[in-house]
Every structure is written in C-alpha cells, then in structure tokens.
Symmetry: C2
Subunit: 298 residues, 2 copies
C-alpha cells in the first residue's frame, strides 16, 4: 500500500523505486501483488501513472490508513513521529492568489505542519480529492466526494474590466454605455480553455450570444491574467479583490459597474478528521468569512 | 488529421465530437482509420487522451500542415482566413510572472494574433513542444526538440531569501553568517515536487548535505511562492527581479548576498517559421536581452 502511494506521488515506478530504495521491478511486483489481491487494475501505466477508478478508492483508503497509523503512534509516544504532518490541499488559482495564504497564516504556528498546495482549476480540485491526491480542496463543487464533507466558504466576485485605452477603443471612452454589442466582439482574455466566466458574462448582457469573441488570449496564471488585461490584450473577468487596487490606480476601468459574476466556493475535506486538518479548516473558514463575499464561518 | 488535433486539444472524444458537430463514434472511427493507415497507436485512451510517441509526431506534423494551409490561403486571399493566428506557447511560471508579458507587448499591435499561453515547469515546457501541444516554448533545455530550433535567452537569477523574522529566528538576526548549518534544517518553501533549486542551493553551501530540510511547503505559483516566503513559512529561492522590491521594502532579507543560482533559459520553436511566430520570437529575444541576466539578442 505504501508502495502504491509512493508511485502515485512520484509519478513513475522508477522514481518510486529511488525513494523506497528498492529496484523498479520490486515496485512493479508489489503493485501487481496488490492488484491481484484486490482483483482490479489499480494504476494506468501512463506517464505519470494515474490511478484507475478502483485505484482511486484504494489510494484514498491507503492515505487515511497512513494518517490513522501516524496519529496512533503519536498518541503512544512512539518514535518516528517527529516529522511534521503533511497537509495536501488543492486550491483554485484565484483563491491561492488572494485569500488562501492569509488563511494559512491564521493556523497556530506551533503546529508542525508542511503544506503541499496544488493549484488547479476550481472545477478540477474536487477531482484531485476523489483521486486521493489531496486531503482537502477549495472547489466550486457543492457535491461531496465520497468519504468527504463539504462546507460553504462564500463566493468570489468577478468584475468585467479592461484597460482605459482598450475600453476607449472598444466601448467608447470607458463609459461602459454602448457595452452590449461591443463586448461580444472585443478581444478577450481567458484563463484557459475551460474558463467559462467571460462567455457567461456575455450571455448575461447580450441576449442570444453564445459567448465572448473568438479572439481570445489564454493567460493561465491569476496574476498574469490581471496584468494581461491591464496591458490591453483584452477585457476579462477579474476577482474584485484583485481588480480594486488596479481600478483605483486607473490601470483598469470597469465595463459595467452593476454587473458581476459570483462563483460559489466550498471546502471539501476527508471526513476522517485529525487535529492539523481541523486547525487548517477552521483557519480557512475564518478567513473566508472575512475575505469572501457572503462568507460564513461554519 | 483535423479530428486527431481536435481530440488532443479538447481532451476527450466526446468534447471533440461536440466541437466538430459529429457523433463521438464518428470521432473514434476517424482516429482508428488514421491509426490503421499509419500502422501505429496514436492516442492513449486516458482522460484526457494523450498522444503516444508516434502520435506526438503526427500531431506535430498535422499542426504544421494546418499552419501551412492557412498561410497559403491567406496569400491567395481565400476566404476563411480572417480569424486571427493562434500562437500556442509554453512558458515557465517565473518567466510568465516577470518578463514574458512585457515581451508580448513588444509585438506590433496590428498583427491579428491570439496567444494561448501554457504555464509549465521550465523542465517540462519542452515536452509540450515535443507532444505538439505548443509551437514554441521558454525552456531550460538546450536540446532541440525534433523539428525545432533553439536560441539562448539568457538566465534567470535566483537569490536565497527569507522574511526578517524567519531569518532572525533561524540564522541569527538576519546577518547571514551562521548560515551553513542552519539552512539545511530550516523549513523551506519549494514550488512543487520537481523544484530542485532549494536543494541545489543547500548542496552548494553545505558540504555533504543532499538537500534542504524535509520540512518543506509546496506553493505552486510564482507570486504565491514569494508571498509564502515573505509570510515566514520558510526560506526559498526567489527570482532576483521579484525579490528586489520586497528586499527594498524589508519584507525579505537575503541569506547570502554573494550566493545565487542562475537557470539558463532557451527559446525553442518550430523550424517551420511564419510571420506571426517570427514577430513573437523577435519580441521575446529583445525583451530577454534586457530583462534576463546575460541575455543575448540573437
């Protein structure tokens, strides 16, 4: 089981072998033995390897088992427990760029913790939880992953913005009035292929349009996204908290002060609670209550 | 061939079918037909699908073919050419967070371009080029991908930094003198599991140590990495250009003013040149010459 986890974490049999100080063929034999005992293929032999659906369940089980073992050892005062607790958490890019690190700084410093943050699309963070790669996730999905609990964090508010020069060129002096038609044709910045926010905004303000312009630039980091919009590459939906200082500095103008899109965010985590995870969850809920619109602490 | 590209771009047969307005089984049949004609399996049926090694070669070929076709149509003034040229480029996170967007703003604005930026580990960007997913990449690899040319951009300089409070606690008043032993034991921030920079620094300053402390936090975005270090989660290697303002504001102190790590960066792109790609390459070389240490324009 430990071998399986190591292979999943390291991505290849060779890397896992190096970590475990055994040969790659020993790693392969152990995984095969586990597959024979469970009667299922657990890993797809891709690069990096990926757990199958059955594999995901076993990986989740193995991680929680390792966790329980460690807690019990710690309670019994047994050796080998000095190493800090690893907390793997999947966080969507905009949360990581804004409120999530301040949330972690609320966690009591005396707790011996290591954070393993994974940055993922907010629609994809729940998948990492399902695959057993993380213990908790900030996600847009309210549907609980098996074996996990869900709490609402609040929502992140996105506002439509552009650089003053871009707005003047496409929407007339940045007044935002002749927006309806122009916004569907103006070049747009999107986060990646899966980012639907700009299209959702266009559907909201322009009846009958399926989405924003096909002239779209993909800029897949949270901070660069804002920079690309400020540089005039296109308009885009930027988290209000990130846009605020740029709006004040007149590096951005808003396209429609009364229009925005709210994306609900949830905290999903293993039901198997342990002190470190509980402390982080509490810090996350507390920060979300302050930093997110409509955030609730509990 | 177009079907194959769509499947690779969209990630699943179903999504490709929706884009192409055919049934998923038609998509599957076309891919199978292409596999029979080439006598090779081209796609691994994972989620998302991934090209096999043979598939990568065919994808690269198909993209360059599509490119040639479009250029020829444009030259002949044929219809269907008004849509802007899509330039897919893989960029490492630290470049995207620092000098890469300013480079793009050097590209003449009248060129009808859409950028599809992919953020990847600098050691992994070349793989995206090999897999045919991008046309160009900022990479740490000087080894040309088949069918691609390589030019040196310069190097990105990383400096070891920590928050003043962290430095005072672990290294004594931030003087940096008793660094040697402490740095191998102090908590450290790393970008992800593949980030070797902090370990490389420790190996450089502490003889006989294999790497930095096992107490390591993984913070996988460029900006959050700097924030996590400034928040005192650990020390870390931060690009000098990002560290400079934080050093001036005394939010960071340097651990060893005379020690740094230089990571060479290269521009790899398809040999099949076309005006838009050439214009971007020129802008990238020019910006790198100014923004990167030891950058050369040509």
């Amino acid at each position: 089981m430990r071998t399986l986890l190591t292979v999943v974490d390291e991505g290849t049999f060779d890397a896992a072998a190096a970590v475990l100080h055994v040969t790659p063929s020993a790693v392969s034999q152990r995984v095969k033995a586990l597959e024979q005992r469970t009667g299922r293929v657990l890993l797809m032999r891709t690069k990096p390897v990926r757990p199958t659906e059955s594999g995901e369940a076993v990986v989740r089980f193995a991680r929680q088992l390792a966790r329980l073992e460690r807690d019990t050892r710690a309670e019994l005062g047994m050796s080998g427990t000095e190493e800090p607790t690893r907390l793997s958490i999947a966080v969507n890019a905009d949360s990581l760029a804004t409120w999530f690190l301040p949330a972690l700084s609320r966690v009591p410093a005396e707790l011996p913790l290591c954070y393993e943050l994974r940055r993922e699309d907010q629609d994809h963070t729940a998948a990492l939880l399902r695959e057993g790669l993380v213990m908790a996730a900030v996600t847009s999905s309210p549907d609980a992953v098996p074996g996990c609990s869900v709490r609402r964090l609040g929502h992140m508010r996105y506002v439509p913005v552009a650089s003053p020069a871009f707005a003047a060129r496409w929407f007339g002096a940045g007044s935002g009035t002749p927006l309806r038609e122009a916004v569907a044709d103006a070049p747009v910045v999107v986060f990646d292929r899966r980012d639907d926010l700009q299209d959702a905004f266009v559907r909201k303000v322009v009846r009958g349009r399926r989405g924003a312009s096909a002239v779209r630039h993909l800029v897949p980091t949270s901070e660069s996204f804002g920079e690309a919009v400020a540089a005039g590459m296109g308009w885009g939906m930027v988290p209000e908290v990130q846009a605020a200082p740029l709006l004040r500095a007149r590096r951005l103008v808003t396209l429609a002060p009364d229009r925005r899109i709210d994306v609900p965010l949830y905290w999903q985590q293993w039901k198997l609670d342990f002190p470190a995870l509980a402390a982080v969850a509490e810090a996350v809920m507390a920060e979300a209550a302050e930093a997110l619109d409509d955030g609730r602490a509990g």
